[in-house]
Amino acid sequence: MVKITRRHVMALGAGVLAAPLISRSALAQEARIGFLSSQKAGAFDAVIAAFEKANPGIKVQAQNVPFDQLNAQIQARLGAGDTSVDVYTVDEPRVPAYANKGFLADLTPMRAEIEAAAAPAAIAGTSFRDKLWSFPFWTTSQFLFYNNDLLKKAGLAAPDADPAKRLTWEDLQTNARAAQKAGAKWGFAFDQNDRYYELQPLYESRGFGPGLSGDGLLTPALTTEGWIKTTAWYRDLYASGLAPRGVAYEQMPALFSSGQVAYMVAGVWHARVFRLANELNFGIAPMPYFAGGKPVTPTGSWTIGVNPKSAQKDAAVKFARFLTLDSEGSLLASTIAPQPPANKAAFAAYLRRESEAGGENTAPFAKIISYELANTAVSRPRTTGYVVFEEIMNRMYSDIRNGAEAKPSLERTEAALKAAFSRLE
């Protein structure tokens, strides 16, 4: 064995020297910046083209990964000091965790400029420990989408578009059952069927809290009576066959646009996809609330973070600024992925554009979004534990949707959260 080792070591050296080292390094005169997001390829082509035209000498490379892999990509690449990501989209409640890990450049010196351009609620979402960590990019809200044809078949009136006269969950459930009896394959569905983001308002509507409490929101509070009751209600939607099991989130919109769902709570961005689907006669109304509770809607969307280790930091900041603080850039960035911009000027233009494009089906678009953002929107908990909290909660909802009992699942999840929080550094 000794003999072999010595000979092999010599051969090893020779082999390493022979290894090819072909790599294209960035051209010196041209700044190339990488922009990582979870939108589909091409979603930001328009805004990138406008930016490159205004800033000759900077090239932006869009890097697109599926939503489920974005967090993994960020942890794997920024965590290992990869500088090929200069600018990336950060989901608002992940800001504290990423800031804590050193994945985000401190933007506090630009506070005045950011405050002038963006809505105050969005700025709160990008702050952590009195510092600003990312540019407010998008905000968001939910609608209750409904299929007019299926409702008509069941003799149901279209839900009122007036936020003051929104449906209660109790009434919605009754109507959805009637629609299902009259021929709808599914009476009701959440599009993000197992995501905390869309389900948090169920608890907040009745005042049961976000499921986290204590200092730094790092103590799970899932086994309260209110949480158990509400989770059981959610479970029943699926157990009773009102809502579909086993359909991936990405395939939910297709279920609605092919006329199989009577009512669906879904993100405002779906309005674009649905109006592009031929023969779909649909409408929008505000998200329901529980009788006796208060109306609550989810909010909080993507923000734009800058890699603190970026080798092209000036160019990166320039591009991030263009996406968010520049009203033209901000509006262009929301065409294919049509989320409401956090930029105040672009937001107004966005509402005009989307309302005009939507026609009859989405007539109350601007009215509902403006009302919800001003009155009912509740952010997700801002804590360094949010990233892992969300991963674990989503898995729990998936279990419950598939029939697991509410109480034992909540207990299991609480234990899992405690274990995971103990690993935070």
Binding site: S23, A41, Q61, A62, N64, S84
Partner: protein, 276 residues
């Protein structure tokens, strides 16, 4: 074999081929549907589950006009180089592990085995860091290198080489052949099926690679097919038509290559003689 046996066996073969192909055929047909229709006729089974109500080539045209074309080319180049280089490197190692006698052979073989027990995705992050330091990010070399030293391919070839009697090598030496000649003129020509098998292992590793190319080649110029296909999935809107179309094309290219190589499997090597 008589005809009585052929029919049931043929039924089994066709049944298995159909089971393998049906999901892909469905995906291929879906790529020819308008997007709103892809998930419409899943259930109950009807003629429209497999026949579109209207055929559109929009998805296929958009697919080949987009970044997928470049990515497909990258995949083909990267995979072809990986298979060729990998075959050279792995067959040489397998030869040394099967035909030559020296102390420590067992240790080297054990190291080869252990190397393919290691989940590559678990070590991709630290390895990518090293590759970045070596300036291999966004390069073909960065994509190819992890695929060439494949312990599994070495293992397969060694298993095969062990079946070639050592007397053949010794006889060739009498004829004045060196070890290199024995390797290239006796072992390699006798081992075509095993080389194709090893090529298949090297091919699948590289063709299926996803996490590694994403880490090491974020530049769209170096995207491979699997990465380009995944980027059809946006958070708010997934382009299933293009995604399924892309998946079918990534399968068609290797199918063409495989059909060519299949004839070597048909050839019988049964007469090579004294296997133990």
């Amino acid at each position: 074999m008589n005809r009585k046996q052929t029919v049931p066996l043929l039924v089994i073969a066709i049944g298995a081929a159909a089971a393998a192909m049906l999901p892909l055929i469905w995906a291929g047909i879906s790529a020819l549907r308008p997007s709103a229709e892809i998930f419409r006729y899943l259930s109950p089974l009807s003629i429209h589950t497999f026949v579109p109500t209207q055929v559109t080539f929009e998805n296929v045209i958009a697919l080949w006009n987009g970044p997928f074309a470049r990515a497909m080319l990258n995949s083909a180049v990267v995979t072809a180089i990986t298979v060729l280089l990998g075959l050279v490197i792995c067959s040489m190692a397998a030869f040394a592990l099967a035909a030559l006698n020296y102390r420590g052979r067992g240790v080297v073989f054990a190291a080869m085995i252990v190397s393919f027990l290691i989940p590559f995705d678990s070590i991709a992050v630290p390895l990518a860091q090293v590759f970045r330091d070596l300036n291999l990010q966004n390069s073909y070399a960065g994509l190819i290198l992890p695929g060439i030293g494949n312990g599994l391919a070495v293992f397969l070839l060694r298993q095969f080489f062990l079946g070639i009697p050592r007397e053949l090598a010794e006889a060739a030496m009498v004829d004045g052949l060196g070890w290199f000649g024995i390797f290239t003129r006796i072992y390699l020509p006798l081992s075509k099926p095993a080389l194709i098998g090893a090529g298949l292992i090297l091919f699948v590793f590289q063709w299926q690679a996803y996490l590694w190319p994403l880490l090491i080649a974020p530049d769209p110029d170096y995207h491979v097919a699997s990465v380009a296909i995944a980027s059809f999935a946006g958070q708010y809107d997934v382009d299933y038509g293009q995604m399924f179309g892309g998946a079918v094309f990534t399968a068609l290219l290797p199918m063409a290559v495989l059909l060519v190589f299949q004839r070597y499997f048909i050839a019988s090597f049964a007469t090579t003689g004294s296997k133990d």
